[in-house]
């Protein structure tokens, strides 16, 4: 399974680097990448290809991989914490919280921190988005809990409320924004990887690598959560601190993704669900596998939205929503009785 996913990921990444306005043969890509690593020095490669690859394609593919892995794994983690397969970051307002903070920072940054260097500015953005995501998660969690259990209906309704509130506040802020900021803000609302540069990749790298490294170790913990929080504690889990750590890691990943690519919905729903259908529900495997599948899915989705109606680019959020909403409805209908909405 892992081998298959990793192989598919490599192939998808290679294709994604190859296709676009300028087509680069896959062989050329290997040569160029090889050259960077100090291999194949006897070959000469096209400088034009090298330029496109270096400036446009590689950062874009890397960003897709990182954001996809982040959304996939955090979707799994958050569903585990909420004990609920519908808890998806964009549905329950976590992404909206992140994007609201990001928008606030974009507008403030120019006026307040105009002097900040670019990478530092991005870090600030990521931190802000992380804080927004964390706050929203905390809010939904507190609202949706009754007697130690999270209530699905309340959770989704709280999500609607937070989404609406964040949307309204974002709208309010756009009045204070200038043209350039407005363009940036619109981009948040739709979700896109078009902002990919080496800087954006580097700015989110730590915030995504840390959750990617740590969350897969929470497999046993999340499994016992599925038994119930009381049961998890009876099995020796420090429920509150584990929960806090997982939420911090997951919102960190979501926040970083939102900061550079806006709200890309439904990945956190699609990916874990698909993985569970294939390999079962044990988080020991679902966590790493959903990072891989998330990366794969977003790379492919990005490839589609870049090439489908080229030279115009579709927002990637459109593709993920097209795939995700039917699944969401399916889960809803299938488990209608259980959720008792």
């Amino acid at each position: 399974m892992y081998i298959f996913l990793v192989a598919a990921l490599f192939i998808a990444a290679a294709f994604s680097m190859s296709l676009g306005a300028v087509k680069i043969p896959v062989k050329e890509i290997f040569l160029i990448l090889g050259k960077k690593a100090g291999l194949f020095t006897q070959y000469t490669v096209s400088e034009r290809y090298e330029g496109v690859l270096h400036i446009v394609r590689i950062p874009r593919v890397l960003l897709g991989l990182l954001v996809g892995a982040a959304l996939g794994i955090s979707g799994t983690a958050i569903q585990g914490i909420f004990r609920n397969p519908l808890a998806e970051p964009s549905l329950i307002g976590i992404s909206a919280g992140a994007s609201l903070m990001a928008v606030i920072i974009i507008v403030m940054e120019i006026s307040l921190f105009a002097g900040l260097s670019n990478l530092l500015g991005y870090y600030l953005l990521v931190f802000g988005a992380f804080a927004g995501a964390g706050l929203a998660a905390l809010l939904v969690y507190q609202i949706s809990r009754t007697e130690g259990k999270s209530n699905v209906a309340t959770m989704l309704l709280a999500g609607i409320a937070i989404n609406a509130l964040a949307g309204a506040l974002t709208g309010l802020i756009t009045f204070a924004a200038d043209d350039q900021q407005l363009r940036n803000i619109t981009f948040w609302m739709l979700g896109s990887l078009a902002g990919a540069t080496w800087e954006t990749v580097l700015s989110i790298l730590p915030f995504i690598l840390v959750p990617l490294a740590l969350l897969p170790r929470m497999g046993k913990a999340l499994n016992t959560f599925a038994l119930g929080e009381v049961q998890a504690s009876q099995l020796g889990l420090k429920v509150n601190s584990v929960k806090r750590n997982i939420v911090i890691l997951a919102t960190m990943a979501v926040g970083a993704s939102v900061a550079v690519s806006g709200i890309i919905g439904f990945v956190g729903l699609l990916v874990p669900h698909t993985i569970r259908l294939i390999i079962g529900v044990d988080h020991k495997h679902v966590l790493p596998a959903s990072a891989l599948l998330g990366a794969l899915m977003l790379t492919l989705a990005d490839l589609l939205c870049r090439t489908l109606i080229a030279p115009v680019e579709l927002p990637i959020g459109v593709i993920t929503a097209l795939l995700g909403t039917p699944l969401f409805l399916y889960i809803l209908i299938k488990d209608k009785k259980k959720f008792a909405l």
């Binding site: 599925a226 049961q231 504690s233």
Partner: protein
């Protein structure tokens, strides 16, 4: 040894437990009886460490419950809860293995696998290990949970096993089987405390019975001492005839018909 001393527990102004003291020795099966709302589950949740008594102390193996870490406690006591809703479709085998989680880090050791195998056989769920938990009937789910709980403390000497209505949705075969397992564990040195509703089941298996009423300890003693028609009337407000099983010499009860004033 488990010793509870003058436990008082309340939520807001409403006190649920008042001044309850008792102790359980290794090798003993204690059954808690009482009417709905008498405080049985609350008492059990205090004993498990989930709730903290307002007053009084609970000591397990010479240390107060609250001084153990969550992890240490998991190695000393297991709890069979009344409500068990599993949020993901785990397989039966996976759920039972979770009982061994406190004992290994990444991969189950040979002992863990052996214990899982043993409790799976004992609880009669061997032929459903690959099935998905949510597809099981209520009774089957309860047996899976029992297996998980047993797996947790199976190889721990003098462990504490707390069970909250472990037979609630079981058929008569598995009611007997579950209590027989509990009794057997007690014989192996466990301290077993179980909340039951069935007086006859309690009479049949309990080494000792604790009767609660309105959050207070009402009676505490052997089945023969405690289970009398008079006491049962006091606790449950129901008249019953008491007979003696000629083979085991244990008591059993047949409730008398309850007359209900017709509802206008």
């Amino acid at each position: 040894m488990l010793t509870a001393e003058t436990i008082t527990y309340q939520i807001g102004q409403r006190s649920l437990l008042k001044d309850i003291s008792f102790s359980v020795r290794p090798g003993e099966l204690l059954v808690i009886l009482g009417a709905n709302g008498a405080g049985k589950s609350t008492l059990l949740r205090n004993l498990s460490g989930e709730l903290k008594p307002l007053k009084g102390t609970i000591q397990l193996k010479g240390k107060t419950i609250s001084s153990y870490s969550t992890k240490e406690l998991a190695m000393l006591r297991a709890v069979m809860n009344q409500q068990n809703i599993v949020s993901l479709p785990f397989s039966v085998a996976e759920i039972v293995m979770m009982g061994r989680y406190p004992h290994y880090k990444n991969h189950p050791a040979e002992t863990d696998l052996q214990i899982v195998e043993e409790v799976t056989r004992l609880t009669g769920i061997s032929d459903m290990t690959e099935r998905s938990y949510p597809t099981l009937s209520g009774g089957e789910q309860q047996r899976v949970q029992l297996a998980r709980v047993l797996a947790q403390v199976w190889n721990i000497p003098n462990a504490l096993l707390l069970m909250d209505e472990p037979v609630a949705s079981l058929d008569i075969q598995y009611q007997q089987q579950t209590l027989a397992i509990a009794k057997n564990l007690a014989r192996r040195g466990f301290m077993v405390i179980s909340v039951l509703h069935d007086i006859n089941l309690a009479a049949q298996y309990a080494d000792r019975i604790l009767m609660l009423k309105n959050g207070r300890k009402w009676y505490d003693g052997s089945a023969a001492e405690v289970l009398t028609a008079k006491n049962i009337y006091e606790i449950f407000e129901i008249d019953s005839d008491v007979y003696t099983n000629p083979r085991t010499l244990k008591h059993f009860f047949i409730p008398k018909d309850v007359r209900i004033n017709s509802i206008p």
